[in-house]
């Protein structure tokens, strides 16, 4: 006898008749487009494979708001974005097309300057001042924490520059990896020491 021959069997069959992954993928794309058009896609994200690991890229309607390294825990980063910005978050790669393209070019050494709208809303006060200053440090150059403190007009805020770099929500495009110790060693990095060394090596080559 087939299981569908009793009530329970029919219920089980209904319950185990899943939608195909193709159907759900198509519906997801439809939701991405509809939510974008309706102005409801507060944060779009995607991941990107790079030589420094899988990066999470997230953007508001204003611009790129977060780049996160694997070691930061992408789920935790998305949960924090839901809390601090909006829970209206979807994996929706279209908004990140340009950012992904420019990062690919950067890692292929065919791009030295990023031309992307950036949304610095995750940083406040002095940290934001520092993070917004960072893109002024050119490709292949470095500054010490003290030099950055001076540049932003707070020469005694060296440690605060350090914590601004450590909490940088937009690493690589706001190049905190170009800020190093006064003795010339790389110092700490949100993406780990290895990633910092890789980026400095990439730009020095």
């Amino acid at each position: 006898m087939h299981t569908p021959h009793d009530d329970h069997g029919i219920a089980v069959l209904l319950d185990r008749t899943p939608a195909s992954p193709d159907d759900l993928a198509r519906l997801h794309r439809r939701l991405e487009q509809a939510s974008q058009q309706a102005g409801l896609l507060d944060i779009a994200y995607r991941t990107l494979d790079t030589p420094v690991g899988v990066l999470l890229l997230a953007a508001t309607a204003q611009g790129l708001v977060r780049i996160a390294y694997d070691r930061e825990g992408h789920d935790a980063v998305l949960a924090a974005l839901a809390e601090r910005v909006s829970p209206r978050i979807l994996r929706a790669p279209a908004r990140l097309d340009q950012a992904a393209r420019e990062l690919d070019q950067y890692f292929a050494r065919t791009r030295t300057v990023f031309d992307l709208p950036l949304d610095f809303r995750l940083a406040h006060g002095f940290r934001r001042v520092v993070q917004q200053y960072l893109p002024a440090i050119g490709y292949g150059q470095t500054r010490s924490y003290a030099q950055v403190a001076e540049q932003v007009g707070k020469p005694r805020a060296v440690r605060a520059v350090g914590s601004a770099c450590a909490t940088n929500a937009l690493p690589i495009v706001a190049p905190c990896h170009r800020v190093i110790r006064a003795d010339g060693t790389a110092g700490e990095y949100v993406g780990g020491a290895e990633a910092k060394a890789y980026l400095l090596g990439l730009e020095a080559a």
Binding site: D6, I10, P18, D23, L78, P87, I89
Partner: protein, 161 residues
């Protein structure tokens, strides 16, 4: 704390699609799904943190199905008689397809009760709150629906063997 909406879609997208297929039929299910999740995304920031997300989604899907039913009535059809689709014998997955067709042949109240109780796991009291009537009536509609499906499948199986 509220999860990113992406997790809501990942966790409940499948169930909501099956509920939509059962209630409005395979042809209109994707429109109902899309309308449901767009509405849910709009309202999501105001959803209480301890809410039952799946029950909330089913409530929205129920309303969207009624909207689609109104639209179909204006177009001269009725949600009580879903359009028949040509059957596809020999096609892989055709068994699943026949199942949705069999569900589509049930009266609306039975489709709703089967979908909300058996697919979405709502207790009969909550099913009744959506469809109107008593929990006992919802239980009867679901059990009549399942009995009718059982009959359809028994016939189909007998015919084929």
């Amino acid at each position: 704390m509220k999860l990113p909406f992406e997790q809501v879609v990942a966790e409940h997208g499948d169930t909501v699609l099956r509920v939509c297929r059962a209630v409005v039929g395979v042809d209109d299910a994707e429109d109902a799904w899309a309308e449901t999740f767009l509405s849910a995304l709009r309202a999501y920031p105001d959803l209480p943190a301890d809410a039952n997300v799946q029950a909330w989604l089913v409530t929205i899907a129920h309303r969207k199905a009624i909207d689609i039913a109104r639209l179909r009535r204006r177009q001269g059809g009725s949600l009580d008689d879903l359009p028949e689709r040509p059957s596809q014998p020999g096609v892989p997955g055709a068994v699943d397809f026949d199942l949705w067709e069999a569900v589509g042949a049930l009266p609306l109240k039975q489709r709703q009760a089967v979908a909300y109780h058996y697919l979405a796991g709502l207790p009969y009291a909550e099913v009744a709150a959506l469809t109107g009537g008593s929990p006992e009536a919802a239980r009867k509609a679901a059990s009549d629906g399942i009995r009718s499906l059982r009959g359809t499948f028994a016939t189909t199986t007998n015919r084929e063997t």
